[in-house]
Symmetry: C2
Subunit: 356 residues, 2 copies
Amino acid sequence: MSTHNIAVIPGDGIGTEVTPEGVRALQAAAQRFDIDLTFEDFDFASCDYYLTHGQMLPDDWKTTLSRFDAIFFGAVGWPEKVPDHISLWGSLLQFRREFDQYINLRPCKLMPGIKSPLADRQPGDIDFYVVRENTEGEYSSIGGKIFEGTERETVMQETVMTRTGVDRVLKYAFELAKKRPRGKLTSATKSNGISITMPYWDERVKAMHASYPEIDVDQFHIDILTANFVLHPDWFDVVVASNLFGDILSDLGPACTGTIGVAPSANINPEGAFPSLFEPVHGSAPDIAGQGIANPIGQIWCGAMMLDHLGHEDAGKAMLDAIESVLAKADPSVLTPDLKGQGTTRDLAQAIIEAI
Amino acid sequence: MSTHNIAVIPGDGIGTEVTPEGVRALQAAAQRFDIDLTFEDFDFASCDYYLTHGQMLPDDWKTTLSRFDAIFFGAVGWPEKVPDHISLWGSLLQFRREFDQYINLRPCKLMPGIKSPLADRQPGDIDFYVVRENTEGEYSSIGGKIFEGTERETVMQETVMTRTGVDRVLKYAFELAKKRPRGKLTSATKSNGISITMPYWDERVKAMHASYPEIDVDQFHIDILTANFVLHPDWFDVVVASNLFGDILSDLGPACTGTIGVAPSANINPEGAFPSLFEPVHGSAPDIAGQGIANPIGQIWCGAMMLDHLGHEDAGKAMLDAIESVLAKADPSVLTPDLKGQGTTRDLAQAIIEAI
Ligand SMILES: CC(C)[C@H](C(=O)O)[C@@H](O)C(=O)O
Ligand SMILES: CC(C)[C@H](C(=O)O)[C@@H](O)C(=O)O
């Protein structure tokens, strides 16, 4: 039995309240499935750390975190303390790039007991993944400004796609589609308008498809694709997208299933050369921080994805099943206020832990 | 009484079926409100024209169309005949750029009798405009490929924003917000990820806001903004966005109101230096073309927007009221199949014309 060493980074706001519950849920799953997990807590990648140290991360963060098998992350950002572009580019976006976490994976799943904003949809109807490229594309820092402060002022920013960068995310998405019952892959494009990078993306999708003839592939331009998330969410199984399009689709997807407050996300380095990072989609939520009422499901669901990633699919599934069973019971004394209950973070986590 | 000369370009597919009905509806409104309209038909900007002439437009198209006060457009594109990037870049995108139609305006409105995919929303709940920058931004043709065909292959494309380009669309959006009862403007950004052009956009929004202190301005990153279109569509009044973000939001908005098949769009040159162009959001729909069952509402609604633009707000409103009253009646013998009726294009148009 090998040991998995987990770095826990609570970050800001409700991140500090939900990560301990996520750890307890992981310990319960580890015990049941006989998995050896160790946890170590870190206080950096938080705005309070920045206020004390003048930077989001210690100089040796990369060496420190490289020793771990995965990073269990809460949430970062507290705009009243530190502007977002400092706190985010100084931590989360560093991790993604420096640890080459080139996959951002997010499930979009209609869960029992969670109200979807879409009419007439039942749990089971919507169940797909968004696979987002997480290191290049539209998020490049190449560009600048000319004729500053004049009427001629012009600003440019480059989108950069490399064959390596595009092919590896496509490969991951095709492999994921292969494991799914429907074996379907949808590519997000905009080659009718973004006339250089997007046709290239389409070309690489076509080339990669040749190695996966069994996968059913379709593609939509991002405008009508967002419309189809709302109109036909049942069409999708695995959706692969560039950094920006994936960013959009992986907020819109959980919004359509009503799970934006409880959805997890994984920043993955599939080769395991660096640790992968698991963080809930919800942010640090300064408005409800400190009250003990934050919903811990996103963090626990992240734990399920992390166990999955570490090769313990059965344990990951047990954690997700536990979440679904507690949601299906819909006991208001256990559910947190965002789910119209009167429970605390601890109450809801405890119910899930017992179900595990 | 001045005359307005309208160029009618039916284009492809159902475009040729709905534009004549749109013209009839316009004639009815013109008669009632004593407006002098003339119409002239053109067969270019269609795939059939391309197949005969080897180009989408005649060489003198710009001179020809410049004589008109507005262009009443059907739909262009028929991928089985001509690839989209040829038909679209060779016509519609030419018009937008050459006629400096820098505003793309699309209403997102919940209409009576049209099923929204969102749960628990009533007509009146959702009623906003998307104002899209229509000439620059992410739709630039600057960029290229290096190390082609090798593992090092790298593709780049530039996003270009100019102060002139950004300020004029913002000004239009602020002016529109000023005319609306709620006077609220939402800006679409992504300055936490797209770190050069998008902070510039935000900066210009702030600067323009100084001239419109009475307008209530907020901003969302595009990822959560798409989520909020689904979760809180009632929050919005006027939404202003870059070319790409506007493209996405102006498909998603009508999708949320269930009107993607009947929504209009206007490509506007506000100064009137060039004709503006009015086209329904639905495309040429090759699958139902030739059957006489296409829904003419999008085209008629375009007519309403065109009259508005030409300074006849009362006539535009009468056309829109007529559409709403026919939809509210929900007579299945009149409604087209997409609205679960058995009517033809002509039946539905006739009912609206009578209501005008
Ligand atoms: C066809 C395409 C190039 C176009 C665009 O992206 O502008 C369309 O989606 C639109 O919104 O009019
Ligand atoms: C905070 C922001 C930079 C980030 C992104 O755009 O990647 C966030 O939206 C996300 O999806 O993790």
